[in-house]
Symmetry: C2
DNA sequence: ATGAAAGCGCTAACAG
DNA sequence: CTGTTAGCGCTTTCAT
């Protein structure tokens, strides 16, 4: 494990650092360095386990071959999966990934963005809180390569890979309607996130297009950090009253899980009395009692495309054409909406 | 977003780079730089949004304030959660985290270790494949700070934070026995991982201590990458034959999920005909039908302690005292083992 | 085909 | 109290 440097191998071989550096960076041929010399260098390097100091290399090159990933929470299975696909794809292109969680806090996110820039990441993938418009704009103006995932800023022209939230929820709501449900509730997170707004719109659109009224009593938006406490009341409010709801659309997997938990505690039959449906799903939604019908998000495609767009952007930071991708969700029909 | 450098602020303020650097690193007082000068520097830096280039800083300092995390798979909820806690704790100490997944492949893990060293991480947290003994030893000999989590090398003296695998599984098996089950099967992954070996030992110990025979027919170890295909046969083999099993211990959450899936497909009543119990759990095991009894691993403590030990090691890389932590699991009793 | 030398942005002796 | 200077390890022009 004795560390060996470029200088060392140049000395040992009686060559210049230049020659060694060139060869090690595959620029031997183009600089007409003799095959033999090249081989000597390569062999020696391999034999002695030479590994360039990436900080030095990065400093010199002005790039780090690293991409930064900022998500709300890496332990949310949804982001963990995206991170996984991002990592795989990034590796294909020779990039490493550094990640950080913003915990849905705009100030932290902002700090993270700059902290990553300091670390000289070559590009950024951000699932933003959507509350850092100014900083996103700065990135854009500075022509710094980045792509937004999952959440985007509708009014900023940039690269992004998101999901058709409106379509997905509209689909879900229609599915419930088709299954004969008449009074459909909606439980979401209180937020200005476009994704959540769109999901609500999708729900409302499905209702109105099918000639149903939108009733405010049937819509609950819970506080992100206290949704578990608020869930019981929300459910009671919707279900246990005259003219209660006979189905509920949940806008995230953890809301669906929490909601089902409460429904069970209240001994409310699912889907007998109330059908439920979830936007996105946890690992085991097919095993849950009852198996939960859900719109599955294409996490693999989201991760892959984000990296592809980003790397492309990094390589030729000339192209001003934004890549705007809206992916479709897939409705996995299970038992929680009746048969 | 115009980039500003140390040099710039020195020039603007008519000072030397030294003075500026010192002040910016909180060493102004100790170098007796006038309060006033300090204030000028600090103000100017803040006003112009000065952000040091971490690659340059790192190169100069010989450290990166980054810790590397290597896990088998970041999209496994278990590792995602650990990563989350590691990230939080690391941030407390001013460290960033770069992660990579080894995909349970020793060669990749090895590559990752060295790749991270090249990137000058200050320390490493590794959930190892347990097949890189030589490299772990090299790290140790080189006195490079690292701590093993989840998996360790029983014969190498190092820092590690693991879980009492034997105790946990013994507990699980005993629980089944206490619930009147007589023929308990065991489904695991085929592997030399100590964790898995210990889990099997725990199972066997519980049986023999309670006067039960260990029957090889009741033990199935599936191939990691094909466990889903093999599960059906394994289950059939165990359950659907004369003198079949009346309970199954699964050694991971995904095996339990997969096993339950197959049991359902085969219309085998759980826990009526077969009780099941899982080592570790997925997010929604309490909602599953039936809710699955599981040994919960203390992911928070594992992440936190790993970072604490590591940072301590980084700071004073003198102490030769190894930190060996074995954490306890917690049995969450639910319906899948009968009442 | 190869080498000398400058420079990436920052830190840190050391001298004044 | 402040500035000069020499690196950290690597890349890269520009001569030779």
């Amino acid at each position: 494990m004795k560390k060996i440097f470029l200088k060392d191998i140049a000395q040992e071989l009686n060559l210049s650092k230049t020659a060694v550096s060139l060869v090690l960076n595959n620029r031997g041929d183009e600089n007409k360095i003799s095959k033999e010399t090249q081989k000597r260098i390569l062999d020696f390097a391999k034999k002695n386990n030479y590994r360039p100091n990436q900080m030095a290399r990065g400093l010199s090159l002005g790039k780090s071959e690293t991409i930064g990933l900022i998500v709300p929470n890496i332990s949310d299975i949804f982001y963990a999966k995206i991170a996984h696909f991002i990592e795989l794809k990034a590796k294909e292109f020779g990039y490493n990934v550094v990640f950080s969680s913003s915990n849905e806090d705009a100030a932290i996110e902002k700090e993270l963005i700059y902290s990553m820039l300091n670390r000289q990441v070559d590009g950024l993938i951000i699932a933003s809180t959507q509350e850092n418009r100014a900083d996103i704009l700065k990135l854009k103006e500075a022509n710094f390569p980045f792509v937004l995932i999952d959440r985007y800023y509708p009014d900023i022209k940039t690269n992004y890979v998101i999901v058709d939230n409106l379509g997905g929820t509209k689909n879900m709501t229609s599915h419930l309607l088709k299954n004969g449900r008449k009074k459909i509730g909606f439980i979401s997170i209180k937020s200005e996130l476009d994704a959540l707004l769109q999901r609500r719109l999708g729900y409302e659109l499905a209702l109105s297009e099918n000639g149903f009224e939108i009733e405010n009593d049937h819509i609950k938006e819970l506080d992100l950090f206290h949704y578990q406490n608020k869930m019981k009341v929300a459910i009671k409010d919707m279900v246990q009253k005259e003219n209660g709801v006979d189905a509920i659309v949940f806008t995230t997997h953890y809301l669906a899980a929490s909601g089902l938990r409460e429904l069970k505690l209240l001994n409310i039959e699912v889907p007998g009395k109330v059908a439920i449906i979830s936007f996105d799903e946890l690992g085991a939604f097919d095993l849950v009692d009852p198996p939960i019908t859900a719109s599955k998000q294409p996490v693999d495609a989201m991760g892959n495309e984000a990296v592809e767009i980003l790397v492309n952007e990094i390589d030729k930071n000339n192209s001003k054409i934004e890549n705007e991708r809206v992916l479709q969700t897939e409705l996995l029909i299970r038992k929680s909406c009746g048969v």
